[in-house]
Symmetry: C4
Subunit: 279 residues, 4 copies
Amino acid sequence: MKALKTKYDLFKQKTYIVIYGSNTFAGRLFDLALLGVILLSVLLVMLESIEKLDAKYHTFIVVSEWIITVFFSIEYALRILCNKRPLKYVFSFYGIVDLISILPMYLSFFVPGSRMLSVIRALRLLRLFGILNLVHFTGQESQLKLAIKASRTKIIVFIYFILVVSILLGAIMYVIEGPESGFTSIPVSIYWCIVTLTTVGYGDIAPVTTLGQVIAAFIMIMGYGIIAVPTGIVTAEFANAKRNTPDMDGKRKCPSCTTIIYNEDSRYCHHCGEKLTNG
Amino acid sequence: MKALKTKYDLFKQKTYIVIYGSNTFAGRLFDLALLGVILLSVLLVMLESIEKLDAKYHTFIVVSEWIITVFFSIEYALRILCNKRPLKYVFSFYGIVDLISILPMYLSFFVPGSRMLSVIRALRLLRLFGILNLVHFTGQESQLKLAIKASRTKIIVFIYFILVVSILLGAIMYVIEGPESGFTSIPVSIYWCIVTLTTVGYGDIAPVTTLGQVIAAFIMIMGYGIIAVPTGIVTAEFANAKRNTPDMDGKRKCPSCTTIIYNEDSRYCHHCGEKLTNG
Amino acid sequence: MKALKTKYDLFKQKTYIVIYGSNTFAGRLFDLALLGVILLSVLLVMLESIEKLDAKYHTFIVVSEWIITVFFSIEYALRILCNKRPLKYVFSFYGIVDLISILPMYLSFFVPGSRMLSVIRALRLLRLFGILNLVHFTGQESQLKLAIKASRTKIIVFIYFILVVSILLGAIMYVIEGPESGFTSIPVSIYWCIVTLTTVGYGDIAPVTTLGQVIAAFIMIMGYGIIAVPTGIVTAEFANAKRNTPDMDGKRKCPSCTTIIYNEDSRYCHHCGEKLTNG
Amino acid sequence: MKALKTKYDLFKQKTYIVIYGSNTFAGRLFDLALLGVILLSVLLVMLESIEKLDAKYHTFIVVSEWIITVFFSIEYALRILCNKRPLKYVFSFYGIVDLISILPMYLSFFVPGSRMLSVIRALRLLRLFGILNLVHFTGQESQLKLAIKASRTKIIVFIYFILVVSILLGAIMYVIEGPESGFTSIPVSIYWCIVTLTTVGYGDIAPVTTLGQVIAAFIMIMGYGIIAVPTGIVTAEFANAKRNTPDMDGKRKCPSCTTIIYNEDSRYCHHCGEKLTNG
């Protein structure tokens, strides 16, 4: 009995290394294979949405999707089984994504058409970052995360401001242009205003009256000017993140504790207090 | 009589704290409730503009708008009454916005259709900044304001330049393309030129002749190049504002020479070599 | 005779101060009036191009344009007369603009329709910079000029690269999509490619085949990535120009020669060699 | 025999200097002539694609293309012959481009229509960089390359993220809008999503339902926010590249302490107080 338990523990441990780790050859192979299957699965949902292909290969696509779903279900079960803290996984970002990646297929027994939702599996593709992260991306990604996190609040303030302006301008354009030019209601006008401010400019709705065109031109130039603001925010944060985690080339090292001295003007090591010599 | 006056003074003081302040629970609640009502009011004007909904719920919408307008009128009156310097409020940005938020509804007795203008209430949503400002946004917003203010002049110079160029290019395109391609007049051509330079590109008007397309391509590439200018201006100002108001939160100072220690890991002051204690 | 000459010299000198200067009240007034007339003149050409208005007010517009042209001609003559080095003015940027602003009207006697070209007067609006420059814009504009000048070469290299890529991608799209989807020839495909790369996106030509849409998506994402390059170039130059011509607030001055000390670490005045005390 | 060999060696050496070098007059002339012929050749392919012109000048265009192809073939042969390490050239970027620039014409004997592929010659236009590089572009281009190389990894991470998001949003829009609004399949919806996120916005497909427009507006604002990310990355790298390779041209050094004097107006070294002589 005890031997069996040990064997089971060993199995759990090995599975853990293969599924969660990516240092061993088996772990790396599993990660890549999983990524391939996810990609295939997303591709299948895409193909199914193309009517012509669905008509021809419907059975093949559905069967393939079921095979993949069963594979994902087993993987999900193993991830829970071999984990020492299964609940932590279940409620993590990837735990939730993994679950809602398999649910839609089973749901399709009861709710027909819900199978399309399994496209949410695309989110599992983000695992690629996790895989690469461990090898040689750490510096790059953390810098990206840092800059995005630091500029988040300012960007939200900015978007709120844009939304209030869009409501106002949208209403004004609705009054000026009216339903004949496609500005059928204030919400539609706000939609048009956002399309214009963000410089997307579909052209499905476009001002026709002279006054409308003048205001539209004003909105565009404003949008042109304010497109600079989020860019400015993020860039400043990036430059900041870069400055705080700088490249190592040509930096002095403390002769006593080998800490890298970032500040060129430092006269004492900030780590051990040793006096530094220049250059 | 004196007691009554004191009571009234007390009421004024209490009202002031509730309406203008946001440190007390009541003040905070009032601010949030007000924001909710403003949002509701803007939503109502939007819904009214959707013909299908207006036909069905016209009476409900109009009555709701009147209730909100009366509520806003009382709020406006209280804001003037309880303020020690009522005129300062009346002629402030929010004072004017508050007034023209209620006027259109009363005007609608005399000028039918003017009720739509009450969408200007959307501007009252900007109060959210005021509310949050007092709590934890100060640093972020002042940085935003600083950068925008510093780059304003340069942006205006830039926009003036763009406008002059647009007039010239618009006229040239009008001569080349002519009314058959949609370039019906120089003002319309200028409108098209702005649509193109800002990379909005509706496509309601588009060059058809070869020469017109060549010039259009030239305008686009130019626009591509100059979109960089406002971005560059704002970013440089942001980086500058950032450098001049560094995030001081939780930074340590050297106890011996009061130099600010930016590096969180430092154990010794980089300027005088003094041992640091942890923050 | 001598008195007359002196009188004429005095007249020349006075005229010079009024026309070229903007420090005196008369000079400032003249500048503003001139700007007003230029604006009016540009507006007239615009209005003339609107068929409806031209039909109604044709005589009025033409007469007004002639009056303005005569006024501009006199101004041009005076600018040459009162200038000590008339040739320098004639061949300067504004000298040439001033001349070709009046030529089209006189040309219209011989070449009907050339009157439209007088819209080139819009370029005279750039004089506004000259007027403001002398008062309080100097710092701002020179910074703008510096950054644009420094990034010019890099931007041109970049645009050349974009053009080569556009030719290649345009030809590929022409082969894939063909004339049925609007890609009627390689030049038109290149035009479409530039429209897409610059994110203008008129939609007058759009890919229809699956392969065409995939390549278009690839071009867009590429364009999205490379829109960053000119922005990055200009921003870096701006930040650089800013660093080299910094704001004066809180800077030390040399106690001996009052030169502003930009470098915070300087120990000696870079102008007179005086030893500096710290801040 | 030996004399012949020496003569041939001399010919090889001379040819090498003319073809590969650009320091001598002949080398420079050859480079410019080659560039001209490449440009002409690209122009010819373009003109051939315009049906109207092709019908009129077909023989002229084809004969010209053949002449150019023969010229290019001779040039290619000479480049291999006179090079000491011919294989290095053959497998270099330009070597491959040079080969596939002439192949399509010869292929057109067997595969009709393949002649259009000779537009790949446009890539040979990039040689211009090589020519200018040797003279006065070095600093500029290396900075450009450095910044692009440094930001490449981050940009790729970013694009991968955008693609995953596009798949998800595309599928959602397909479910919401359906084939009636032009969202005929998930791949088409993903194409639309990329068109929107990159702010290109053709308008060939545009949301019609209210929910679809709300999500589209959300995607646009998101795209507006994230357009800042690649810009931020590249800009930060540019600023970094600039800081690490400052413009040294014409900078003075202090004769006493060899500190670089950035300020052109300095008369005394800011570090040691030594008097400076003018540069």
